[in-house]
């Protein structure tokens, strides 16, 4: 029997059991739609993350030093000298190099602030007219660049002065230099990335940085050069000029962080999708069960078909195609429901789920495979049935 006629035959017999077929399909629909929505949420998260990371400079790499003795103070080892940025400019492929105090792309300096007997850890950033909400006191003014003034973050002010408003006008010591507190910032929101940062003027922070040793270098790579290769030549140069220290220079690509995050999200998504895929397995067993029922019920029909000349292979294909159609149609409906779920989820989430073509194709393929895997045994049973026993029961 030709494939087209086999498909037609399956359609006719499925049509005569619409409710049963639909109930069997539900398992597959739930499985596929939940896998689709979870994958789409994961995809959406990745896309969102890529967007927010896109503003980090793609050509910038960060070189840090890891001492052999992990507890060694980098300030004493001095893995980078002030002249390093100047020399590294001559390395092929390097656009420019500069000392950085950054971690993960955000520039900040840390210090220890103290007021009489109380001390606290303070994160410091240059104040360049950033949008800050001052709770007490005032912001730094432009003409105050050379003065040692500080806008203290709320938590630090609370630790040092108990009631933050008392801090205004007082002098605190940060890394050995006295700053006058001109303002106290609003308490940051729960999820603020820059929360808990105090601000000082650009000059003050440069002065502070020049006193501390360089802990890492930012190197901008010229377009068309391989980051890894340029890093190798930089590494050679650095080891030459700092031959007396023990440890190794390490490359930190800010995009590598993004990639790792992406990977983690990918693994997590896959894991959750796998768990919801269990419902697919249950659905598959439902299909197998109903196929067994169908084969038993239609024993007589199988016998008649064999008597008028159907080969065992035709019978096998007929039942297999039926199973595939149940799961395939379930899969398509599942994709449709998954799409609707994604739209609904998108309303409540800060980022929209992204349904990829590959997940649609994958879901279709999986549902067809489920049909084959769980339909094959009942179909083989049907094809091996003795025509006499099938007709006369």
């Amino acid at each position: 029997m030709s494939i087209i006629n086999l498909i037609k035959t399956s359609v006719y017999s499925l049509k005569s059991h619409k409710l049963r077929v639909f109930l069997t399909m539900i398992g597959i629909i739930i499985g596929i739609s939940s896998v689709i929505s979870i994958m789409s949420v994961g995809n959406g998260l990745k896309v969102k993350m890529n967007e927010s990371m896109a503003d980090t400079d793609a050509n910038k790499i960060n070189i840090t030093f890891q001492a052999e003795n992990l507890e060694a103070d980098l300030n004493l080892i001095e893995p980078f000298s002030k002249s390093d940025p100047y020399y590294l400019k001559n390395v092929e492929g390097v656009e420019k190099a500069e000392a950085s105090q950054s971690m993960g792309g955000i520039d900040f300096t840390s210090g220890e602030g103290s007021y009489f007997d109380k001390t606290t850890f303070i994160m410091l950033q240059d104040y360049d007219d950033k949008e800050t909400i001052v709770k007490y006191g005032r912001s730094l003014k432009k003409d105050e660049n050379s003065k040692k003034l500080i806008m203290l973050d709320y938590t630090a002010a609370e630790t040092l002065f108990k009631s933050p408003e008392n801090a205004i006008g007082c002098g605190i010591t940060v890394n050995g230099v006295i700053y006058e507190v001109v303002g106290v910032l609003e308490k940051p929101g729960a999820f603020s990335l820059t929360g808990g940062t105090s601000y000082i003027s650009k000059d003050s922070s440069d002065a502070m940085n020049s006193e501390t040793a360089i802990s890492s270098l930012d190197v901008y790579i010229k377009a068309g050069y391989d980051k890894e290769k340029v890093f190798e030549s930089i590494n050679k140069k650095l080891i030459e000029s700092h031959s007396n220290i023990k440890g190794e220079y390490k490359l930190q690509d800010p995009q590598a962080t993004t990639k790792i995050f992406e990977q983690i999200i990918g693994y997590l998504t896959a894991f959750i999708a796998l768990i919801s895929g269990i419902s697919l397995f249950v659905g598959g067993i439902g299909v197998m069960n109903i196929m067994y029922v169908s084969v038993t019920e239609r024993k007589r029909e199988i016998g008649i078909r064999r008597a008028i000349g159907a080969k065992p292979k035709s019978i096998l294909l007929q039942f297999l195609i039926e199973a595939i159609m149940v799961t395939g149609l379930g899969g398509l409906l599942g994709i449709l429901f998954g799409f609707i779920f994604c739209k609904i989820i998108g309303i409540f989430m800060p980022f929209p789920p992204v349904m990829s073509l590959s997940s649609v194709i994958g879901a279709t393929a999986i549902s067809v495979i489920i049909g084959i895997v769980f339909g094959i045994i009942p179909a083989i049973n049907a094809s091996k049935m003795d025509p006499i026993k099938a007709i006369y029961n």
């Binding site: 029997m1 006719y12 008649i304 078909r305 008028i308 000349g309």
Partner: protein, 228 residues
């Protein structure tokens, strides 16, 4: 007339729990092209088993079966399916139409299982019409089997048996589930087919029907006791 079917020393056993039931004992039988054969006997005499065996549905344990001059004793399952499809037509007591298909589709079915299926859709539709007309039910093509009476269903089954233009029609008590009036109708159709040189082999226990037969085989306890 040529020998269409030749059975030589056919034996068949059914395996029971701890014994063997000897259902057919040394069957020797010749059926010629154009015969109207009736197999008679009480229930349990092995007449249906013999018919199924002739129809390539059942297997036998020893002996030799020649069909149309060829030894068909050791055919594979696929070859047997092909013989059934192109050379034989079956009619059953309970009609055995497929309920999920329409009348037309039921009649068409053997054509779909034909191996070299270069029969076009148009040709199939034409043949379905032709044989529905033969049994006088052309206008029922789109209906479902459950909408028809028993006699009508049996006529559809005859049309289905005829559609591949087979040598032999095998009928297992085709009138067993019908009243006497429709029984006559069905028998007249079969008789007409026989006159058109179709070989008909029919199982029955109705003595009245032997008037249609050219050859009557009496079976008792798996043995042929008499051939008229």
């Amino acid at each position: 007339m040529s020998n269409l079917i030749e059975l030589a020393n056919i034996n068949k056993y059914y395996k029971l729990k701890d014994s063997k039931l000897h259902v057919l004992k040394d069957i020797n039988l010749i059926i010629e092209q154009g015969d109207f054969v009736m197999i008679m006997g009480k229930s349990g005499s092995g007449k249906t088993t013999l018919l199924n065996l002739l129809g390539f549905l059942d297997h036998f344990d020893n002996g030799k079966y020649e069909f149309n001059g060829k030894d068909v004793t050791h055919l594979s399952e696929n070859e047997r399916s092909e013989v059934r499809n192109s050379n034989l037509g079956f009619i059953f007591q309970q009609f055995h139409l497929i309920d999920s298909l329409s009348i037309g589709q039921n009649v068409e079915l053997p054509l779909l299982y034909k191996e070299s299926s270069d029969i076009t859709k148009k040709e199939r539709a034409h043949r379905v019409e032709k044989y529905l007309e033969t049994v006088g039910l052309l206008h029922k093509e789109k209906q479902s089997p459950s909408q028809l009476s028993g006699g009508q269903q049996q006529r559809i089954a005859i049309a289905r048996a005829l559609i591949n233009n087979p040598y032999v029609i095998l009928a297992d008590e085709p009138t067993g589930a019908l009243d006497s009036k429709t029984r006559e109708e069905i028998m007249n159709i079969l008789k007409k087919l026989n006159e058109e040189n179709k070989t008909i082999i029919m199982v029955t226990h109705d003595n009245d029907l032997t008037k249609y037969a050219s050859k009557v085989i009496h079976l008792k306890d798996g043995m042929i006791t008499k051939v008229d």
